[in-house]
Amino acid sequence: MNPLQARQLVIDIPGRTSGQPLDFTVEPGQVWGVLGPNGVGKTTLLHTLAGLRAPRNGAVQLGERSLTDWKRRRISQQLGVVFQDRQDGFPATVLETALIGRHPWLSPWQMETVEDQRMALEALQALDVAHLQNRLVNTLSGGERQRVAIATVLAQAPDTWLLDEPTNHLDLHHQVSVLGLLKAQAAQGCSVFMCLHDLNLAARWCDHILLLFPDGDACWGPSQQMLVPAALERLYGQKLMTAEIDGAPVFVPAGSSDPQSS
């Protein structure tokens, strides 16, 4: 497996000064969470790591080779991306959408095989949307659509997962099952790299954290080292109260509407 690596990577946001170069490797078995306030560039970073945007400086590597040296098709067999937005102008059925995930594995003249169908169906089952397989995707609720998008990447079976806010639109039950699924993927040797807006989910599910600060600074490392209240308060510009539940930290914004609190 070729791990995804950022080498002195500076993402390119037009009009913004360059941030701190990022240099990390997403090793197999790791679940990374990217935290930062809105607009800091999490989505841009994700797209850059996926090879969809050019960095301003530095490089993204898969294994020892730069992304630019890999063929597009080989990249898509190793990297799967769950985007935040979807274009459903030409709506297909849920099953067809999941099957699209098998595209990188099919040669141009090949039709989808029984095996491909099976993988797509299993992916839909794992995301609890198999019962919707013949529905058109534009008739689904936000949460169902999100799960279908994740199922598509599951069918793609990449080594590395890149996800942009995967828990958007999902109710609590499905948030937990999706993150559990991603954790299980990591346990099987994949690596997961996701942008999250929910600090507590990151705290509970990620073993590595990347913090992107509004001023361009960044730091990354194992979760215990990153989830330090001082750093997080600086990140969000918000005072936080910390607690511990079940061995994992929980953060709550301080300054409630209770007039008696300090």
């Binding site: 898509s76 067999q77 990297l79 297909a92 699209i100 141009p108 003249w109 039709m111």
Partner: protein, 324 residues
């Protein structure tokens, strides 16, 4: 399985196509009974009937079929390329360029093959013009392409108006018929049919990539599709198909917009089914429209573009209504 679910609608469409062609060949301003038609197709019949059917109606039917198929497939390709279900083959100015080419040739007093060749040249010129202008400052998106195309189309429209204003009165009927879309009796259906067949062969590799592309260019890229090269291929292909169609029959409207749309409402969005279905349905539709154009006020003739417009609009409205 996928293969089978494709087969049934395609078989229905093939039968419809065959039926429409038989109808077209047996109907015209002169009456030839069905059994006489069939006998001519197998070598018999009077000399007049043979001439009518083999020399006049059959080539015309094939031309109509090829034109309709090419336009429908081009329309489907344009709609995916621009990620816009309202796109048609002419939205990027192609028919305008062809029209200017054809009208200039007519104004110069030449006819036949030169007009067709001129139309084709005009269409290609328009393709390159839009290509070059949209490509201009690097980044090339569907909306930029659409805007460029619309502006170029408007430019051609202005030239067409100028040509019409300056032409001697007696050339006007010919020009207007070309602009409305009229199956030229002189057209050779063979290049069109061959091109249509080739495109249908490309359906499998092309079709699946189009399905992925329809999800959005970033999603497609992430799934291993080389988006830019694919978009260029679609653009060139759609332009080639449209240029060929317009060369054979002038600018016939509606087929390129309505047929892919109708089929998507009924058959879903797998381009591997939609593209060949478009070829068959578009061809069938135009063959039937041309048959109507030939008999509605026989022995007088209507241009086929008039019929496609009159039929296309209410059909489309009905289907939209039903799909709600």
């Amino acid at each position: 399985m996928h293969g089978y679910s494709f087969l049934r609608p395609l078989i229905v469409l093939v039968l419809a196509a065959a039926l429409s062609m038989v109808i077209s060949v047996s109907i015209g301003s002169s009456a030839v009974a069905l059994n006489e038609t069939l006998s001519v197709l197998f070598g018999g019949g009077t000399e007049l009937q043979q001439t009518l059917i083999l020399d006049l109606r059959l080539p015309r039917t094939f031309t109509a079929f090829a034109t309709g198929g090419l336009l429908a497939v081009a329309g489907a390709l344009m709609q995916v390329l621009l990620r816009n279900p309202l796109a048609d083959p002419y939205v990027l100015g192609l028919s305008g360029g062809a029209a200017v080419g054809a009208l200039l040739a007519m104004m110069a007093g030449v006819a036949g093959v030169v007009v067709s060749g001129s139309a084709f040249a005009g269409a290609l010129l328009s393709t390159f013009l839009v290509f070059g202008l949209a490509h201009g400052t690097g980044s090339w998106t569907p909306s930029r392409l659409l805007l460029t195309g619309v502006v170029v189309a408007a430019g051609w429209g202005a030239l067409i108006a100028l040509i019409l204003a300056m032409s001697p009165a007696r050339q006007l009927p010919g020009m207007l018929y070309w602009l409305m879309g009229d199956i030229s009796p002189a057209a050779n259906p063979l290049p069109g049919l061959i091109l249509l067949a080739l495109v249908c062969l490309l359906v499998f590799p092309l079709g699946r990539s189009l399905n992925v592309l329809a999800r959005g260019s970033m999603q497609a890229s992430a799934l291993g599709v080389s988006v830019r090269p694919l978009e260029w291929v679609i653009y060139i292909l759609a332009s080639l198909l449209t240029a060929t169609a317009v060369t054979m029959a002038g600018s016939v409207g509606f087929v390129g917009l309505v047929v892919p749309h109708m089929l998507r409402l009924v058959l879903g969005n797998d381009q591997r089914l939609i593209l060949p279905a478009c070829a068959l349905a578009g061809g069938t539709l135009l063959v039937l429209a041309d048959t109507l154009a030939r008999i509605v006020i026989a022995p007088e003739q209507l241009p086929v573009g008039v019929i496609t417009a009159l039929l296309g609009v209410p059909t489309f409205l009905y289907l939209l209504h039903r799909s709600r």
